[in-house]
């Protein structure tokens, strides 16, 4: 759950991070908007802890973001259902997210909070053309690299290793839990086992 203080922090931060992407004022219905948001959402979903997209910012100088003017119509165009329908037509498995308007005063924003994937990374399952450009690539894994804060298909071995490690860790944790439920491995040990006195004696030199 993102609360108001968190959103204010994300807006005031003014600098894109791996987990934080800013977008200029835009209306959801434009194809260009949909593609940019879809890329960002797929990329965020492949990050540990997911990420946040704030729509309604502008970049007056390189790397510095400040609030932009966003109209009521632009804000209202971003709905959970419309975004889910469009983005998850391309993303598989479906990206889990929430979208909310944030209207602190004269400025208006749309905040999309994307959850980290559940079991397997999100992959773009079909291409999207805008004019002659292929803007979403079939089979691409969108990601936000360590090297550069942009949502783009994975292109470095380092990023791929990081994503694989995250997926493996999740898989191992899930498998351990399954085996634990089935009784094949012991439940979590209690914090202090019976041998604690022996260790204490050892520390005291007895």
């Amino acid at each position: 759950m993102v609360n108001g203080a968190d959103i204010e922090f994300y807006i005031q931060h003014g600098k894109e991070e791996r987990y934080l992407e800013y977008k200029g004022s835009m209306v959801w219905t434009g194809d260009d908007t949909k593609v940019k948001i879809a890329q960002a959402m797929m990329a965020m979903s492949n990050l540990r802890n997911g990420g946040v997209i704030v729509v309604g910012m502008k970049e007056p100088q390189r790397g510095v973001w400040v609030p932009d003017i966003m109209t009521d119509e632009q804000v209202a165009s971003f709905t959970q259902d419309d975004i889910a329908q469009w983005v998850n037509d391309y993303a598989v498995p479906a990206v889990q997210f929430t979208v909310k308007p944030f209207l602190p005063g004269t400025n208006k924003f749309v905040v999309i909070k994307v959850r980290e994937f559940d079991s397997v990374p999100t992959i773009c399952r079909k291409p999207k053309q805008l004019g002659s450009r292929e803007v979403l690539k079939k089979g691409a894994i969108y990601y936000r690299s360590n090297m550069k804060n942009e949502s783009a298909p994975i292109s470095s071995d380092e990023d791929m290793r990081e994503l694989i490690a995250l997926a493996i860790n999740k898989g191992v944790a899930r498998e351990i839990e399954r085996l634990r439920v089935l009784g094949f491995i012991a439940a979590f040990p209690t914090p202090q086992e019976d041998d604690a006195p022996k260790y204490e004696q050892e520390r005291e030199g007895r």
Partner: protein
């Protein structure tokens, strides 16, 4: 300074106490000094600044029951023991307990309020805990924590200590530990799971410490902390 004197000095102000061992006692998991030193060499964590633990192999002492080491250099004070059973016990002084306020916050005006000691959010808490937990993973990989690891990490003597951040980050001076009880966190878990959860566990333990100081990080702050921790681990700081 003798080990006993150094330990007394460390305990006289704020310090970490770390205890790790298997839940099943075996008296000779590490039968020789060589086995102990080899384990420490491979498990020592060096991500930034001082390694955890400080382990100059030539400057350790062995008495057939345990290997011990110490460092007492300026504001950095620590003493540790590794027993033949594989039990690890470590006392690590907080540098912010020994540096004067004027020195610690040099260049800052006005200075933060006077307190008996100061804890840096990332350096003293999050990064230290990350290194401790990663060291535990190293011990586990050395086979001395099988089958289940017991971890106890305590922060002592930090009553009225103040939490602080670097100058370029906004952070209130109001987060002060009002409690005179040690902050103790302990956990037992299968060694096979340790490497998968160590970093997350360190972050959660750090947040628990912050909470005692009165700072409950927001979701945004948690993200910042997680990102800083990641940078530490990847040596990108």
């Amino acid at each position: 300074m003798s080990n006993e004197d150094l330990l007394a000095e460390i305990k006289s102000r704020g310090y970490w106490r770390v205890e790790m061992h298997s839940t099943e006692y075996q008296d000779k998991r590490l039968p020789t000094r060589r086995a102990m030193q080899d384990l420490l060499s491979s498990a020592t964590v060096s991500l930034s600044g001082w390694p955890y633990p400080y382990f100059p192999a030539e400057d350790t002492a062995y008495n057939s029951k345990w290997l011990e080491g110490q460092v007492n250099s300026g504001y950095h004070k620590e003493y540790w023991r590794l027993y033949k059973s594989g039990q690890w016990v470590h006392w690590l002084g907080l540098s912010g307990a020994w540096i004067t306020r004027e020195r610690l916050f040099e260049g800052l005006s006005p200075l933060p309020p006077q307190h008996p000691g100061y804890l840096h959010v990332r350096g003293d808490v999050l990064f230290t805990l990350t290194e401790i937990l990663r060291f535990a993973v190293g011990l586990a990989q050395g086979g001395i924590l099988d089958p289940n690891a017991f971890l106890s990490i305590q922060l002592h003597n930090t009553h009225d200590y103040m939490l602080f951040e670097s100058f370029n980050r906004f952070f209130d001076y109001s987060y002060v530990n009002q409690s005179d009880r040690p902050i103790e966190q302990q956990q037992s878990l299968p060694v096979g799971e340790l490497s998968a959860v160590a970093d997350r566990m360190a972050l959660e333990m750090a947040i628990e410490v912050f909470s005692v100081f009165g700072w409950v990080p927001s979701e945004a702050s948690e993200r910042m902390l997680a990102e800083d921790q990641k940078k530490l681990i990847e040596r990108r700081l």
